[in-house]
């Protein structure tokens, strides 16, 4: 017998172990074919059978070769627990089981000598979320009646663009006693308070990105819900840039500037202005880190859109050439405002940080009035690819930071001048309306969401280590991959339908939250409507403590 090597990897070292019942398996091969990670494979096992044929026991043994499905013992092709094998098995013969004794974080580092990378969200077991400790506790009853969510009308829109203080509005009174604009004010779009967050056409499969774009167009044109979608860094198809649907899109520019060559070339042919430009400085899921698109996902169409060869595409952690907030205001904001002749609002996205208020203060005090939105992204946000250590250990929760920024504006009498948009784990429990509503009461004008959109599409990943393989390009449900075979698993019409339906449901739920507090427009900053059963949370957020 060969000497045992304790360093060899066994399923017990991995996150997930495959449960396999040979007696139920018909060896149809569906599971092996469907596993995008190649984490299971057909093998032949030698089996010994003892039997007796005579009247008295006369044990004999027989050996046979039996085909089975086995888990691959490898840190490259390890099981991610996605459960696709279970989904396709007609006989419930196979499926992943979480392994609480995993040594994966250690052995992966030991064997690879490289940091662990993955997609998804922070995976550390978390305590109760702050938003779940807050309730909408100020209900209108006697003196101020509740509204009727079905009967009354509600104004569910949020501003995107720089808003001038009233005394600076360029308006004069005509002899007839009417106000008239004397010159142009900064552009502001009034849009749905939930923006579909920035996920690039490289991070997502073309079918997934198209499905989100389809849902956005449908929500706008058929449902009357003016949702905007942010492109993510990496541009977008030229056909879309030249189409009338561009008005529903927010173009993102990040430190890699990917995709902008094509955008600029398409500008003379644009028939509509985009809804906005979002300058991405940081991302909540991996603050201080730049974008990361692994070579395996840089398919031909990605190379074409971005104008790059097939290689790892790493956006630098910061915008090269920007060394101060003032500089960013002067250079980036002015140039992007000028690019669309000051018709398109330009906003900034930063990762929530202990320093966010300072950044916000600098922007809100800028004398040019050209920062059209402050997008603040918290630690619970998702990503297509990041170092696990960043995902799990860097970042700042969104709730108190958003509140800090709002109160900083209030203290200067500048609330609302730069719209605040928040993200980072909102809708994590599946209930985005409630999370968004609470953030709005705390001072957000709106929220943006990415990971939840993927979950609407059928993403099987979760925050307990399931799947999280968006970085590999092997997404088992065709969402974050460019492999044609995998992409074709995704039905874009079904995805678009799911997203549209989710937004319709959420729209109803917003009204069901606004009606009892008696508000027909969004209660931005109405922290008096919130209560918390947690004293430190109540104190920090300056809302009422109740018990």
């Amino acid at each position: 017998m060969e000497t045992m090597k304790v360093q060899n990897i066994t399923p017990n070292d991995l996150y997930w172990k495959i449960r396999y019942n040979a007696s139920r398996c018909t060896l149809c091969g569906s599971c092996v074919a469907a596993c995008s990670f190649r984490a299971i494979e057909p093998k032949v096992e030698r089996r010994r059978m003892v039997f007796s044929e005579g009247e008295l026991p006369e044990p004999k043994q027989r050996f046979s070769a039996v085909p089975v499905i086995k888990q691959v013992n490898s840190i490259k092709n390890y099981c991610r627990g996605c459960g696709i094998c279970e989904k396709v098995c007609p006989n419930d013969a196979i499926g992943p089981v979480r392994n609480p004794d995993t040594r994966h974080p250690i052995i992966t580092r030991c064997l690879a000598g490289d940091s662990i990378k993955r997609g998804g969200r922070k995976n550390l077991g978390s305590t109760t979320r702050t938003l779940d400790k807050i309730r909408i506790g100020r209900i209108s009853q006697m003196t101020d009646p509740s509204l009727d969510a079905q009967r009354h009308t509600f104004d569910l829109l949020a501003p995107f663009g720089r808003i001038l203080p009233p005394a600076k509005l360029p308006m004069g009174v005509t002899p007839e006693g009417l106000l008239q604009m004397q010159k142009e004010a900064p552009p502001v779009g009034w849009i749905y308070p939930v923006i579909i967050g920035d996920m690039s056409i490289g991070a997502l499969s073309w079918r997934m990105w198209e499905a989100v774009a389809m849902a956005t167009a449908y929500l706008n044109e058929e449902c009357g819900i003016p949702v905007r979608m942010c492109s993510g860094e990496g541009g977008m198809p030229v056909r879309l840039l030249k189409s009338r649907y561009l008005k529903y899109m927010i173009l993102q520019i990040a430190s890699g500037h990917f995709g902008w060559n094509r955008i600029i070339k398409a500008m003379p042919h644009m028939t509509e202005d985009p809804a906005g430009v979002l300058i991405k400085i940081g991302q909540g899921a991996k603050p201080g880190g730049g974008g990361l698109l692994m070579a395996q996902k840089v398919a031909e169409h990605i190379q074409a859109i971005r104008g790059v060869p097939k290689a790892d595409l790493l956006s630098p952690p910061n915008h090269q050439g920007l060394y101060s907030i003032e500089e960013s205001v002067q250079k980036m904001f002015l140039s992007f405002n000028a690019a669309f002749k000051f018709r398109v609002p330009v906003a900034i996205k930063v990762a929530a940080s202990a320093t966010s208020v300072s950044v916000f203060n600098n922007l809100v005090r800028d004398p040019y009035n050209i920062v059209g939105g402050f997008f603040l992204d918290g630690i619970d946000g998702g990503t297509g690819a990041a170092h696990e250590v960043s995902l799990d250990h860097t970042g700042h929760p969104i709730v108190s930071k958003l509140r800090d920024c709002y109160l900083a504006a209030v203290n200067q009498g500048r609330q609302g001048q730069i719209p605040l948009w928040a993200a980072g784990g909102l809708g994590k429990t599946g209930d985005l309306a409630a999370d968004a509503f609470k953030m709005i009461c705390l001072g957000a004008n709106g929220v943006f969401t990415g990971k939840l959109i993927l979950q609407m599409a059928g993403c099987v990943g979760n925050d307990q280590g399931r799947c999280n393989a968006c970085n590999t390009g092997l997404c088992p449900v065709g969402i974050t991959t460019q492999e044609p075979a995998l992409v074709h698993r995704l039905d874009p019409e079904r995805v678009a339908q799911n997203i549209v339906n989710y937004f319709l449901a959420m729209d109803q739920e917003f009204k069901k939250l606004m009606a009892p507090i008696g508000n027909s427009s969004l209660p931005v900053g109405r922290s008096d409507a919130l209560v918390s059963v947690d004293k430190p949370v109540a104190d920090k957020l300056q809302i009422q403590f109740v018990c």
Partner: protein, 368 residues
């Protein structure tokens, strides 16, 4: 819930009419106080219209403190009226020891100054008086403004009327504009300042309702103007917004309605002036009100107006004859004051309407 009422008349009218207006509506309020602001004064104040009158309720010490402050600033008292009180046993009134209405001439060094400088000085003086009198609750400086007097007290409005002899009409204490309300701020602490009508630099408002955007309003207003203080009642926000829109921004009154109850976006989109309306909605989003409300307001030129919340959740009715227009929460109040009017001309404004009454009693109805 409050009941509010206001009278605008071509003739000088005695406050007994305001008491009458409110008395029949007493089932709808809790009779916890009486507050009144009068503009365009007659009687003993008629010849002092251009000089500021201080309306003060205070202790003996408070009188001294207030007078010392005004004298030190160079103001000279030219007239004082101390209403005769009638402290019968058993009256439900929580009276202050002194009620003074003192008219002052401006200090010499400001007499040549422009209107705005004088108005700023008057506000500064009232804020100073208010602060000084807050110590030990020495008193309450309700208004210090030309051609305006204010009376506020805690107790049963009927008894307050008896205490101040307001039930007996006379020609000494009259005005062409009287706004009144019969309820203390029972939602929160009972503070004399918290009873509306509220007055600031010639603007007066009173309201029936609940402003559920109170916190949003307060958080912005606090930083907008030094005169926006107190916030003892959510209705004060209406006054400050009116003052800000009409005086500070210099916008016509019709835009006040666009600020507090902006049109829905889909309606704005269809308007020719959508650019202006959107700009207003954007920049003044924190002055929007929500919740049920009816507001009655008076401008420095004595124009009186009323408007409601965007869902018309609170009532108001306007009745009139040739000499008088009366605003009231309930029509029964108008029936007392103008029993012989043609009630078919009564106006029940809708949620997008502003009804304004000019000094010659022209009633204008503006659709937002």
């Amino acid at each position: 819930m409050c009941r509010i009422g206001a009278i605008k008349s071509l003739d000088y009218t005695h406050p007994s009419q305001a008491l009458l207006l409110m008395q029949s509506q007493q089932k709808g309020h809790d009779n916890s106080g009486f507050a009144m602001v009068m503009h365009d004064l007659g009687g003993i104040f008629e010849s002092y219209k251009h000089l500021p009158t201080l309306s003060l309720a205070c202790t003996d010490e408070g009188v001294k403190v207030a007078e010392d402050i005004l004298h030190a600033a160079g103001f000279n008292r030219v007239m004082q009226w101390v209403p005769e009180t009638n402290p019968l046993p058993g009256l439900d009134i929580n009276a202050m020891p002194n009620y003074l209405f003192q008219t002052y001439d401006y200090p010499k060094h400001v007499r040549h100054l422009g209107q705005k400088e004088k108005e700023d000085l008057l506000l500064n003086m009232r804020l100073k008086l208010r602060k000084a009198l807050e110590r030990d609750e020495m008193g309450f400086a309700y208004s210090f403004w030309p051609d305006v007097v204010t009376l506020k007290e805690i107790g049963d409005p009927k008894d307050i009327g008896t205490y101040f002899n307001l039930w007996e009409p006379d020609s000494k204490f009259t005005a062409k504009v009287i706004t009144a309300q019969c309820r203390q701020n029972t939602n929160y602490d009972i503070v004399r300042y918290a009873a509306h009508p509220f007055h600031l630099q010639g603007y007066t408002t009173l309201a029936n309702g609940e402003n559920t955007f109170y916190l949003k309003n307060v958080e912005l207003q606090r930083e907008l103007h030094r005169g926006y203080i107190g916030f003892e009642s959510d209705s004060q926000c209406f006054l400050y917004t009116l003052h800000y829109v009409h005086r500070e921004l210099g916008w016509p009154l019709s835009y006040f309605k666009h600020v507090i109850t902006p049109l829905p976006f889909e309606d704005i989109e269809r308007r020719d002036d959508k650019e202006q309306l959107l700009a207003i909605r954007q920049s003044l989003a924190h002055l929007e009100i929500n919740g049920p409300n009816t507001i009655i307001g008076v401008l420095p030129d004595n124009t009186m107006f009323t408007c409601c919340d965007a869902k018309k959740l609170r009532p108001v009715v306007i009745g009139r004859n040739e000499r008088m227009v009366v605003f009231s929460s309930e029509v029964c109040g108008i029936n007392e004051v103008l029993p012989d009017r043609d009630w078919e001309t009564d106006i029940y404004p809708h949620e997008r309407e502003v009804v304004a009454v000019t000094n010659d009693l022209e009633v204008q109805r503006w659709r937002q």
